[in-house]
Amino acid sequence: MQRAATLLLLAMPACHRAPPPGAAEPFPRVAAVFRISIPGTLVNFEMVQVPAGEGVPSFLMGRTELLWDAYDAFMLSTPDPSERSGADAVARPSRPYGAPDYGWGHHGYPTISVPREAAEAFCAWLSARTGVQYRLPTEAEWRHAAALATSARPLTRHRLDSLAWHAGNSGGTTHPAATKRGDALGLFDLFGNAAEWVVTGDGRRVILGGSFRDPPDTVGPDARAPQDDSWNERDPQIPKSRWWLSDGPFAGFRIVRELP
């Protein structure tokens, strides 16, 4: 079955959200933005090429955090006959008893309240749907992108305010993706809004970048939080859900794709 993804090279950095977000910071030039459609859905997402660095080959990274629009397409889809069955099958998230988005906003907002395994299951589903491998960034890839995003100028409080939703400006909720300025790489919300799952060398569950709940001095390229029991404290069921974090409104993710 032909499952090739649509891969478009857009002439201008464009965003599907209207009105357009604040322009990216003027340096360096954003090389390219790729818009990718998810077959069988009306959902698309955008990726930006991150240049290579020491020990890190160039790769594509989600221009925004993964939005509910895409996650819903995964969650509400039914397995089709072309999907693998048995142990290789991609399971769908269980239905939450409650509102993982806390009613703050859904379409155009970053996916939150998801554990790392759920983010990885999304990547597996997207890979199966598109025939191209998507995954979470490694911690090295995320840090490399964060370093490039902030390398041109120091990350002052004023600059952080223009780039990131944090506890000092968020009002205690997530915000629509790409409503702060883009960074020097053309990425949005790398710091703040949702914190982002990465794959670590030792396998520990860690989110990076800080979130809308964190004070501004703790949001940025060095923000790193390992998961603890408090993130799923109030799930009243045993076994606790492996698909939702009952107390993790800050936990989201961004996907990456390797370049050939």
């Binding site: 819903d72 509400l76 269980s94 239905r95 939450p96 008893y97 409650g98 509102a99 988005d101 806390y102 009613g103 859904h106 408090s230 404290e233 109030r234 799930d235 009243p236 069921q237 045993i238 076994p239």
Partner: protein, 433 residues
């Protein structure tokens, strides 16, 4: 004669520094005989409540389990065993043996007869009134999940059992855990102190997507299929306005300090129309009128792809309150107490902390009437939508409404019809429209 209950109270009296009558030996704290707990209804919530109970206090032991389904019983045992294996503090309190694991329709009676002091009632709500009555008759303290009934007959039974519990000095705590949340308690205490003046209106919502559904297996009888998919049958769950939205309606009754007297509502079954989803509705909107004149708009929805909103908001003559967060207006105040490591702040655990402490202090909490009234409030909203009529508290409380069939074995059981406004009557039984 020293009964187990006296014994436990004695230990608590010592701990509380009370003077003991002559002839009683002081028992060092921590050495009082344990409170022995049985679980009736071993699904995910019953298992979770057992865990929460073990986390709530020392001197508490889970000793017996009961469920109609042997597989659910085994899963519960396996999951609690796993928790015990991972956590020595839990292991010391987990004392379930094969001889005290019971399945079948009479499992609850066998748990009650197994030498327990306290039972956790966590089956689907249909069975709560009968299980509560049996537990109170047997002299057991009770933690029971919400809602506590699905029809007027069941609510009347719970009210009667709660009164008998009061006379017998037995504790009843319900799974309306917002009542044990520090933020809700602190905010509502201020509202009751006049922080927003008189409450004149409110909005209470539980709008979310759809919930789990178990595909029917060919070997399942009608009864087994309905029990395993209990959410989707009014006789089992009370419909989602009772099963889920009761949390928010309970907050309205709490903050106003009364139950509503009239309800007008709409509702329907718009997205979950397949047979797999039984016969319940997927949305309700209800206007509740309180004896103070306050009006509360209630909304609940379980429809995929729709906007989520869960919470409670109230307007008073001098400000507004959102009990989960705080107060706006001249007496503005926010609940901003950071959790202290080692101090329990999870309301699902606190409800057990408060229950056990009340038993040990000899002043048993009794939330029976309060949760029965909140259950009837939810039923009132449901019935306003189902019947299309104005429903008053008094006519509902006295209605000949008996939705739970006598189920004592697996076998044929039809899916009741979808309720139809203008046709469905308040006074009805299981099979009536």
């Amino acid at each position: 004669m020293t009964t187990r209950r006296n014994f436990v109270k004695t230990g608590a009296a010592v701990a509380a520094g009370l003077v003991l009558p002559k002839g009683l030996h002081a028992i060092p704290p921590g050495h009082a005989e344990a409170i022995r707990v049985g679980v009736i209804g071993c699904g995910g919530r019953g298992t979770g409540a057992a865990r929460d109970c073990m986390r709530a206090a020392d001197g508490v032991e889970i000793v017996a389990l009961g469920d109609v389904f042997p597989d659910r019983l085994e899963q519960c045992r396996m999951n609690l065993g796993k928790l015990a294996a991972e956590n020595p503090a839990i292991a010391a309190k987990y004392r379930v043996t094969s001889e005290r694991c019971f399945s079948g329709f009479d499992a609850y009676q066998r748990v009650l007869a197994s030498g327990v002091d306290l039972v956790i009632l966590a089956t689907p709500p249909a069975f709560r009134p009968a299980h509560l009555a049996a537990a109170i008759a047997a002299g057991k303290h009770v933690f029971m999940e919400k809602p506590v009934a699905v029809d007027a007959t069941g609510v009347r039974s719970v009210l009667a059992s709660s009164e008998i519990a009061r006379q017998k000095g037995l504790a009843i705590v319900a799974g309306t855990q917002r009542r044990h949340s520090k933020a809700y308690r602190a905010t509502i205490e201020r509202v009751h102190g006049g922080a927003i003046g008189e409450v004149v209106s409110g909005q209470v919502y539980w709008n979310q997507g759809g919930l789990w559904m178990r595909e029917r297996k060919p070997e399942w009888s009608d009864t087994e299929w309905q029990l395993r998919n209990w959410l989707y049958f009014t006789w089992l769950s009370g419909d989602h306005i009772c099963e889920q939205h009761i949390h928010n309606l309970d907050v309205a009754n709490w903050i106003i300090g009364a139950h509503p007297v009239r309800a007008v509502g709409v509702g329907g079954r718009q997205s979950r129309t397949g047979a797999a989803y039984g016969h319940i509705y997927d949305h309700f909107a209800v206007d509740f009128e309180y004896p103070t004149g306050a009006r509360v708009l209630s909304m609940c929805r379980q429809i995929d792809g729709s906007a989520n909103s869960i919470g409670e908001w109230f307007a008073g003559t001098r400000g507004r309150a959102e009990p989960a967060k705080g107060i706006e207006g001249p007496s503005a105040w926010r609940y901003e107490v950071a959790d202290t490591p080692g101090v329990i702040s999870n309301p699902y655990v606190l409800e057990h902390v408060n229950l056990i402490a009340s038993i040990r202090a000899g002043a048993p909490l009794n939330e029976g009437r309060q949760v029965a009234e909140s259950t009837l409030t939810a039923i009132m909203g449901r019935e306003a939508a189902y019947t299309g009529q104005v429903v008053t508290w008094d006519e509902l409380l006295n209605a000949e409404q008996r939705l739970v069939p006598d189920v004592v074995a697996f076998g044929p059981l039809p899916t009741p019809p979808v309720p139809m406004p203008g046709v469905t009557k308040l006074a009805r039984t299981f099979a009536d429209v």
